[in-house]
């Protein structure tokens, strides 16, 4: 496989782009793997890559029922940040952001990570105080790029926001993380797939897991639409479908519900917004950035009711349009190009699970909702570490399924044990 380099790009440009190889093999399933990763989203692919790279485990398969990145990896609004304040979350997402900062280089693939700042608008003195508390915590514990901005700085940096005195939600300032930004989601998927393949991992598409065979407390065989596959260890990374796979493994209930989250993209515009802007106030929730192609990429809340359907609905279109108009009225005449939905795992405290399970050789990566894209590198990193070494790293010790029994909720939003309220 060709390594990408400036010379390579130049040479192929001169010779009709004919010198490129496949980015990864179209692997056919083998009878046995040391590790089978179920789910070819970003988390699954990153896990396989770090298993090979960090732990020298190369006999690995990633099984994907559709095409890699066709799930939430390719449906999200691509925001990457580490402005989390809860112990556990803070260290985890900061580690992820550090991995993002070197990812294009590491994977030899341009993931277009653009650290353009994440600007969370503040609309009340209480919100300013709350943000100051969280951002001070971050500054003191390893994220020095967290800042609280007053109106003059915000106006100078993002001039198009609705600053008028009679705005529905007058703006008082903003909480800003400067190293945060966006990345090209498809590129990250392809980059991880290519880098994993290069280290021997079989990336197997159109291979749906339909059953899981157990013997005593262990999984022995994975039944798939392309035949049975024996597995030494199994890692589950299937985003909104966790409960279904959990059921296939003969396990009971989980602290998870499947909810759907919608996203939108507008027609391409000339450069308008050079940051990620986020707005949340009462029931309104809105986040927006401009892609490198010019489309305004934005989203809002989940649908408020449980759903496995990967499609949108009109009440959320209205919600999001209202939020857009209250924050960026200049978007009023911009046309919507596309609108879609992804099914995410909403956990009971809004935080994820990266842990061992009641089965000896089954490892779980689940419970991601609004924040799983930014987490991809770290989720893969720590899941690989867990699978390889059979013990949780200090950083993921509390992301286990039993934390609620211990009285621990890692609840960034303070919304309690109700999935539909997290965001």
């Amino acid at each position: 496989m060709t390594r990408f380099s400036a010379w390579n790009v130049f040479w192929n440009g001169m010779t009709g782009q004919k010198g490129w190889d496949r980015q990864w093999r179209d692997a056919t399933p083998k009878a046995h793997y040391d590790v089978v990763v179920i789910g070819g989203g970003l988390h699954g692919l990153a896990t396989a890559y770090y298993l090979a790279k960090n732990h020298g485990i190369h006999n690995v398969a990633v099984l994907e029922k559709g095409w890699i990145g066709g799930g939430n990896a390719g449906r999200n609004t691509t925001i990457v940040r580490s402005n989390y304040a809860q112990p556990g979350n803070r260290e985890f997402y900061e580690h992820s952001l550090k991995l993002w900062e070197n990812l294009s280089h590491e994977l030899n693939y341009n993931v277009m990570f653009s650290q353009r700042s994440h600007i969370a608008l503040l609309h009340s003195p209480g919100a300013v105080d709350g943000a100051a508390r969280n951002y001070n915590t971050m500054r003191r514990t390893g994220a020095p790029d967290a800042e609280i901005w007053g109106l003059p700085q915000l106006k100078a940096t993002v001039p198009h926001l609705n600053y008028s005195a009679d705005a529905r939600f007058p703006i008082m300032g903003a909480a800003v993380q400067k190293r945060a930004g966006t990345a090209r989601h498809d590129a990250v998927v392809w980059g991880y797939a290519r880098a994993a393949d290069q280290r021997g991992v079989d990336v197997i598409q159109n291979c749906e897991v339909t059953g899981i065979t157990r013997e005593a407390g262990r999984i022995t065989t994975i039944q798939t639409s392309r035949g049975p596959i024996m597995a030494g260890k199994v890692a589950l990374s299937v985003a909104g479908n966790t409960s279904r796979l959990w059921g296939m493994a003969g396990l009971g209930r989980l602290p998870i519900e499947s909810h759907k989250l919608q996203a939108f993209v507008s027609e391409p515009l000339k450069p308008l917004l050079d940051q990620v802007v986020v707005f949340g106030m009462g029931g309104a929730h809105f986040y927006i950035s401009q892609s490198d192609k010019g489309g305004m990429v934005f989203g809002g809340d989940l649908d408020w009711y449980k759903s496995y359907a990967q499609r949108g609905n009109l009440p959320i279109v209205q919600d999001v349009a209202e939020a857009a108009m209250s924050v960026l009225p200049c978007l009023g005449r911009v046309k919507l190009l596309r609108h879609w939905a992804g099914v995410v795992d909403m956990s009971m405290d809004g935080s994820h699970f990266l842990c061992k399970t009641p089965l000896d050789n089954l490892y779980l990566n689940a419970g991601w909702n609004y924040g799983g894209f930014k987490a991809s590198p770290a989720a893969g990193w720590y899941l690989a570490d867990l699978v390889a070494n059979d013990r949780p790293d200090e950083k993921i010790r509390n992301f286990d399924l039993k934390r609620f029994e211990r009285g621990l909720q890692i609840d960034e939003r303070g919304a309690g044990p109700d999935p539909k309220l997290h965001g």
Binding site: S243, R244, G252, R253, L254, P255, I256, E257, S258, W304, Y305, K306, S307, Y308, A309, N313, L314, P315, M348, F404, E405, P417, D418, K420
Partner: protein, 94 residues
């Protein structure tokens, strides 16, 4: 848009309602063991298919309803008042 046939107000768009959550959960007695409370508060069947859930007609009669809905197709199979006595009560008072 999902249409919900409210037994009190007739068919309405689902945006008039608030989703209450999984209606199959029965909370244990207040002095029940911790494990029972843990299971009721945190663990979910998370059915892909027909599940019973609660909705409140917040923009209408404000009644709580128990609804059987397919979480994959969003088809609504059954709607009934959460409190079975409410309908009879209303009828006898008229």
């Amino acid at each position: 848009m999902i249409r919900i046939h409210c037994p009190f107000c007739g068919p309405r768009d689902h945006s008039e309602f608030s989703y209450g959550g999984d209606g199959s959960i029965t909370y244990p007695a207040l002095d029940a063991p911790m494990e029972d409370w843990h299971d009721a508060v945190f663990l979910r069947e998370n059915i892909c298919g027909v599940q019973t859930e609660t909705w409140q007609h917040t923009q209408g009669c404000r009644m709580w309803l128990s609804i059987d809905r397919d979480t994959m197709t969003h088809e609504i199979h059954k709607v009934r008042p959460c409190h079975p006595g409410v309908k009879t009560l209303l009828r006898t008072e008229q």
